[in-house]
Symmetry: C2
């Protein structure tokens, strides 16, 4: 698997994120791929669309992939570094590789995953970085809600 | 909040687990409570019932509770110690307290949560211990699938 293949997979996640943005949602998308290059499932954050705080991009892609006997040869591709919740998902199910579009706007659990032996590839994709930076700047309260940060306006 | 109140909350989670068992599912239930004693949501593992690997007891209870501005004063009650996925959920959203029915059959991320400052109460409930032990003994393949363990029959 070379970097261009990972970039092509990221395009699937980015398309999901852009769909979420167009829906008025939080623009984070993900896709679960098999190492053979086939997509098992893709999804996006739907906190706003469905009023469901449990649907992050990664958990949605994982759900859409259905029941799998093994995740060792799967690749979770996501536009933004996974939070603890989604990092825990990766670790519990033994997803072998995580590809993130960026970790500038949110670093998540990447170091923890690396320490647990997960292969982590950070594509530092400018499209992802710009999209998330602009969205967070315009929607700080919603962003804080999505990552469980409480705001205390001073 | 005294131990009897936690035990009463566990009854809600145990009822969910028993419903799951009757449905042919994995018998793990959970409930998210507010510290004022009101239940925000309850749920159960529904991997089998819905073919959805993302629905653990804790994530289902979290979903059922809907969007919340803060989780600091909430209590996640679950019949079995939370796996990394569900421990990550607790940590990301700052759920203040976790009450587990048992951690004998599965220890999950309890130590990690304690280190992160989460208050953890283990009720060591015999009903939960017996139910899960018996179920795992009868369903080893399904149990391993639910926690992402690969079986290699020798």
């Amino acid at each position: 698997m070379d970097i261009d293949q990972y970039r092509a997979m990221l395009d699937t996640a980015l398309e999901e994120a852009r769909t979420g943005l167009a829906e008025g949602g939080i623009p984070i998308g993900a896709a679960l791929y098999h190492a053979d290059g086939s997509v098992l499932g893709s999804g996006r954050n739907r906190r706003v669309q469905e009023g469901d705080p449990s649907i992050h991009g990664e958990t949605d892609a994982f759900r859409k992939a259905g029941r799998q006997a093994s995740y060792r040869d799967t690749i979770m591709v996501t536009t933004l570094a996974p939070c603890w919740y989604c990092s825990g998902l990766v670790r519990q199910f033994g997803i072998g590789t995580v590809v993130v579009g960026e970790s500038v706007n949110f670093a998540g659990g990447l170091d923890w995953l690396r320490e647990a032996g997960v292969r982590v590839i950070d594509l530092a994709d400018e499209r992802c970085i710009d999209m998330m930076r602009d969205w967070i700047a315009a929607n700080p309260a919603l962003w804080n809600e999505d990552i469980g940060e409480e705001c205390h306006p001073g």
